[in-house]
Amino acid sequence: MEKPSKNQKGIEKIEFLVKFMIIYEIILGCEITERGEQHGGKMMKRLLKFAKPYKLAMWIAVFFTILELAVELYQPVIMSIIIDEGIVKGNLSVVYTWGGILLGLSFIAFAGGIINSFYAARAGQGMGADIRSSLFHKIQEFAIYQFQKYPTSSLITRLTNDITQIQNFIFMILRIALRSPLFIIFGIVMAYTIHVRLAHILLISVPVLLLITIWILKKGVFLFQQVQRKLDGVNRVIRENLLGMRLVKAYAREPFEEERFVKVNTTLMDDNKKALRLMELSMPILMLGMNVAIIIILWFGHVELSLGGAQPGEVVAVLNYASRIMFAFTIFSFFMMNFSRAKASSERISEVLDEQMAELPQKETTERTFKGSIDFSHVFFRYLEDEVLEDIHFSIKAGETIGILGETGSGKSTLFQLIPRLYEISEGEIFIDGENIASMDLKNLRSQIGLVPQEAHLFSGTIKENLRWGKDDASLEEIMEAAKQAEIHDFIMKLPDGYDTHIGQRGVNFSGGQKQRLSIARALVRKPSILLLDDSTSALDARTEANILETLKEQACTILLIAQKISSVKEADRILLLHNGKIVAFGNHAKLLKESSYYQRIYASQAEGREAGNIVY
């Protein structure tokens, strides 16, 4: 019974904190950028969500910040007591007593500050890590087409640099920034308790300065968004160069690439300068404003003194508060820079987090093994308004081997990617074992399919780890078995570290053929019911290719095989011929040779090459 009420209280406290933070938001308004309309005002709510697990840490941090603040705010009071009551009246014991109190309070504040450091860092770093983690989660849930919207380089910037900006901001709020506004507010209040008329001057000047600050801040958010976008650009050029290092060297295009880099780097520099210079403008303005306020206070203090409306100690104390408010303001301006950056970055993160997930209707099915029959029923697929596949309609029996031929860009690879639902079809239905794949459990569906893409993408790690992608709990025997089937086992055994050999990023240290065979082995480890080979033997010599295909046929699985050569698919049970996204022929080699003129043309093209070599068959 006690716990819920405690929780309730905690939540209320958090809500108070957030309300306080939202003040900034309200002041800022939501119309900062185009994006801002969508995401503006959400930042704090989002942060709030991530703050929940750290509410205790945050409260401890806030508590100690306030404690420190209280001590600091009380200092001028003590000082004025020491001056007015002690020194002016000649009472030394007042000086000692209050001096002692001041000293004691300082130590308490110090201890509080150290504790604050621990908890502020805990909350700041923890929240940052959590945001990063949920962003990464979200990206993992992206559908393939969403990756085209966000270039890899931009996602990387968002996951690292943008989150660092937010982290700095949270830490700043908890450690310093919370103090500045509180200091300013309480500073004015304290000034009022000392001398009302003099304090009026502060009450007028502070909001004016605040408005100027906010104006700068608004501009800053926009400018920092530009900066982050330019950073994406820099990241992109670097990444492209790393990917194409050989090509750049091969064409001796280093100067061209350097020029390209200088270009993006220059725009980054220019935007950075613009943003930072604007932010730095706030500091001298605030200082000047507060200094002028101090002079005005001094003038009116002089008037008050001459009329007998104020004590010297009072004037000194108000002046003291004014100068402290000025320091708070200068810290505030530093905090503003962080705020603008964090706001700009959080909008970029929100953009990703708000990305609509493609609806994946899933019926909870138990894990089961497919037999492997595949039916396409009038399937259409459009991509960016382009008709990629039109009215694809065919049936494949379990265990069949189907060859797929077609010109470059005829939609073969796309057809493959529809089966494990890497892309969702636009119209029609696809069935496996008579069941619509749209209603299947995605994980189960994919676990039954072994897709070997055109480009063998390997990850850094050992060979063993890479092959285990196919099946998490595969034993070494299973892995070796798959490697043997893919004709790569002997090669692996020749490596100094065998299956523990480290693969560099993208398998840079392996030849194209070796990568392809590793990629095939990876698919075979899972003993798939359906094997999709997307031209994945192109870099293999004929003998190896033939051996692998031979072995595969013995597997109890349905095989779909994209190839360029008729020789690769001649032995298939049937051959599917695609042209411009449509099926033009479907049948076995003999049938197609007889009936399809298109097939005959392909056949001729490949036979011609033979003849040119003067080899007679």
Binding site: A109, I144, I176, N265, G513, A539
Partner: protein, 585 residues
């Protein structure tokens, strides 16, 4: 240990300074502005103190007014000076970062291919962005702060001495405590900052790799595993940043306390002195202002020190790459070549990527100008390595390669590569228009020439079907094009380059045979009069080659023409037979 670290730190700082020294003119202006603003920052409070004293002792308006007018002027000038010092300093800082980034990038361009084999792309990217960001952040603020703080500190002490030597001495009592505390703290933060930057780079690498391998991850339903691994890295980063931030958070707290202590001492002792009439109340008020002026720069210095540590952690990682040895410099006697006949001789060439694992053993052959040379053999036989040596991505360990009778080492890499065009296994495309991607082969080609090349490579037809034709912007992975289409663009690029030496590494492996037939024609024309090296698995594409070199386990086991090799009835004949068996009967 610690002395070595300090040495590294000094070295790193000196290197950053070298970049800053380029901006001497601006830096001088900044220094002038700092001097002005610091001087004004000292004079302002002093005059304010005088004015406060005056007000308390009952000055009339005719005395006070001019004083206040002076103060307004001083404060305005001070703000102006601060604005300009910041304005120019940002200019310097961003220029430094700009040049450092450029240097690092062009250095990367000059590193040997081998360097990239063991590095994750994302990790390298992190050095150019996240680490540079640290340097940038610090330079923007730290330099000014450090100089201002030092100046203010010195000035304040002088004025304080002038006001009251005794109170000054009391104020300075906190300094040793301060130094001890700071040393303790920064010893810890420095190490954690370094670790933080390393973890960040590591994570960047992981992110880059997993995002670019998304399809595989999805296909194998490995999302949860990837997330798990990511969480580990995320946690490691969290821990190191947590400690770095916690410890650096100590500094202002320590300063606040010492500030209050010195305040108390001044007020306490000052009170006694005032009672004895040794100092005026105004002096005490002024002195407390100065004592804050005294602790504030110390505080700032301490804070900046942390930022500097984090910047050094970043800069060190940047310089680390810059210190990597460049691709071996061309031999001094190396000459530029402007044209090439294409006479290529390999003489007993051996090469290994890693010690003890020979990739090529004693390879010898001769390709006459204009000949087409086919490299044949099982995967991993060393075909691509032959080509890498020919384009000098690597240098042979033993033996010599002659180009037009000249040792290849006596030709500059750039001029050699300029004469060569490549179509590689993995077609690399850039995130720019199709047109620019093709133009990469010859930067000064006209639009017509680009279209011409595309037509020859048979890429024109599919290009004009793209949403914006030649202006369609490709994604860097080229994922919006099929593998075959990307190869066609690569071929068009090579056609446009119009080289003396042509290298086709599996250039047509993913192109269907009908399309291949169409471009074979273009390729045949292209190969005419140029020495060409072709790697292909489909033997039918190489039967017309003038020289077929059969490689196995890094050795040349046969060479000759298709006919002579078939007659020899060796390995090659075997390969052909195995293809024929499966081929069209």
């Amino acid at each position: 240990m610690s002395t070595k670290k300090a040495k590294d730190m000094k070295g790193t700082m000196r290197r950053i300074w070298q970049y800053m020294a380029k901006e001497k003119g601006l830096f001088f202006l900044v220094m002038v502005m700092i001097l002005i603003s610091s001087a004004l920052a000292l004079i302002g409070p002093y005059l304010l103190g005088v004015a406060v004293d005056g007000v308390i002792s009952g000055w009339g308006g005719e005395q006070l007014f001019p004083m206040l007018a002076w103060l307004v002027l001083i404060f305005t000038l001070q703000s102006g000076a601060i604005f300009f010092q910041n304005y120019w300093m940002i200019g310097i800082a961003q220029n430094v970062v700009f040049f450092m980034r450029n240097h690092l990038f062009s250095h990367l361009q000059r590193l040997p291919v081998a360097f990239f084999q063991k590095r994750q792309h994302g990790e390298l990217m992190s050095r150019l962005t996240n680490d540079m960001e640290n340097v940038s952040r610090t330079l923007n603020a730290a330099v000014i702060q450090v100089i201002t703080s030092t100046l203010t500190l010195i000035g304040t002490i002088i004025v304080m001495l002038f006001l009251s030597p005794l109170l000054t001495f009391l104020t300075l009592l906190i300094v040793p405590v301060l130094f001890a505390g700071m040393k303790w703290i920064t010893n810890r933060t420095g190490a954690y900052f370094k670790e933080q930057q390393r973890e960040l780079g590591d994570m960047n690498g992981y992110i880059e790799e997993t995002i670019s391998g998304q399809k595989i991850i999805k296909m194998y339903s490995q999302e949860s595993r990837v997330i798990e691994e990511f969480e580990e890295k995320n946690e490691a980063l969290r821990v190191s940043s947590y400690w770095a931030q916690t410890y650096s958070g100590f500094i202002p707290k320590l300063m606040n306390m010492l500030n209050n202590v010195s305040f108390t001492i001044i007020v306490g002792v000052g009170g006694i002195l005032a009672l004895k009439g040794a100092v005026s109340i105004g002096v005490i008020v002024t002195f407390t202002t100065y004592s804050r002026q005294f602790t504030r720069p110390l505080n700032d210095l301490a804070n900046q020190f942390n930022m500097i540590l984090s910047a050094i952690a970043g800069a060190e990682r940047v310089f680390q790459i810059m210190d990597e040895e460049k691709e071996a410099v061309d031999e001094t006697e190396a000459v530029d070549i402007s044209s090439l006949d294409g006479d290529i001789v390999f003489e007993h060439v051996s090469f290994s990527y890693e010690e003890d694992v020979a990739t090529l053993k004693n390879v010898s052959f001769h390709a006459a100008p204009g000949q087409t040379v086919a490299l044949v053999g099982p995967t991993g036989a060393g075909k691509t390595t032959v080509i890498s040596l020919l384009s000098r991505f690597y240098d042979s360990d033993e033996g010599t390669i002659f180009v037009d009778g000249e040792d290849i080492k006596n030709i500059t890499r750039r001029s050699l590569r300029k004469q060569t065009a490549f179509v590689l296994q993995d077609s690399v495309l850039f995130r720019t228009s199709v047109r620019e991607n093709i133009r990469y082969g010859n930067l000064i080609a006209t639009d017509e020439e680009v279209v011409e090349a595309a037509k020859k490579a048979n890429a024109h037809d599919f290009i004009i079907k793209l949403p914006d034709g030649y202006d369609t912007v490709l994604s860097s992975e080229g994922s919006d094009l099929s593998h075959g289409q990307r190869q066609l663009l690569s071929i068009a690029r090579a056609l446009l380059a119009d080289p003396s030496l042509l290298i086709l590494d599996e250039a047509t492996s993913s192109i269907d045979t009908i399309t291949e037939m169409k471009i074979t024609d273009a390729l045949t024309k292209l190969m005419e009069g140029r020495t060409s090296f072709v790697i292909a698995h489909r033997l039918n594409t190489i039967q017309n080659a003038d020289l077929i070199i059969v490689l196995k386990d890094g050795q040349v086991i046969e060479q000759g023409t298709d006919r002579s090799l078939l007659e020899k009835n060796g390995f090659y004949a075997d390969l052909v037979r195995s293809q024929r068996q499966k081929g069209i009967s």
